[in-house]
Symmetry: C2
Amino acid sequence: MCSKPTDRLFKLGKLNHVAIAVPDIDQAAAMYRDTLGAKVSEKHAQPDHGVYTVFVELGDTKIELLYPMGDNSPIQNFLDKNKNGGMHHICLEVDNIHEAIKAVSAQKIRTLGKEPKIGAHGKPVIFLHPKDCNGTLVELEEQ
Amino acid sequence: MCSKPTDRLFKLGKLNHVAIAVPDIDQAAAMYRDTLGAKVSEKHAQPDHGVYTVFVELGDTKIELLYPMGDNSPIQNFLDKNKNGGMHHICLEVDNIHEAIKAVSAQKIRTLGKEPKIGAHGKPVIFLHPKDCNGTLVELEEQ
């Protein structure tokens, strides 16, 4: 029998955020807050993930501004290649990350690592390889 | 007197969409629909804008998949540089695009063109220069 959509053992949720790596997080936060009028969070240090984050609220989703923290930040390499900053990844919510990993793996979509890790929001996350997702780094986050 | 947030003469709305340019729009739509389980639109031809579009619903926002249409598509150049595809722009809603243009221009954020044009959704839009927005092409769309 063919696999039907109802066989899917996880449910996709909303777009949790779009992450943008920025060369000056205070200036970027000011642009969204003061020029565009968005509700913008304080700057959070996330030493376990090597980033500072600022969240820009936009409806039921948000922009996550990312700036490198420490010497081995995963964002520094991106900024070295993209001096002005740029869109870094999108994050989609799922209700069961292990089933989501099985489903994408069955379709030959590679994950970065085999097991989910605890992400910047304290929830299990996994990243999908951008080459298998239309050049877009896709994070899945369990809610 | 200082300019206060209440002086802003337009209101920012939600994230309307994240646009992703893709090298195979049917395959990209299938990934979001069949593998991830998203609600995905039919493919729409937008000859005035040189693109085919597919919308992926994600909460109160969406991903707009873009594929070139015709010889002078603005997306072809992007795909020539990004063979796997990639994140192309984000679109933010505003309630008064002329006031939004005045506000960003006052902060030395350049617009691509001086006047709004009618975008792919039939509404007035303007693009902000990526170099002035953290390497991110930002579309403002009047609702």
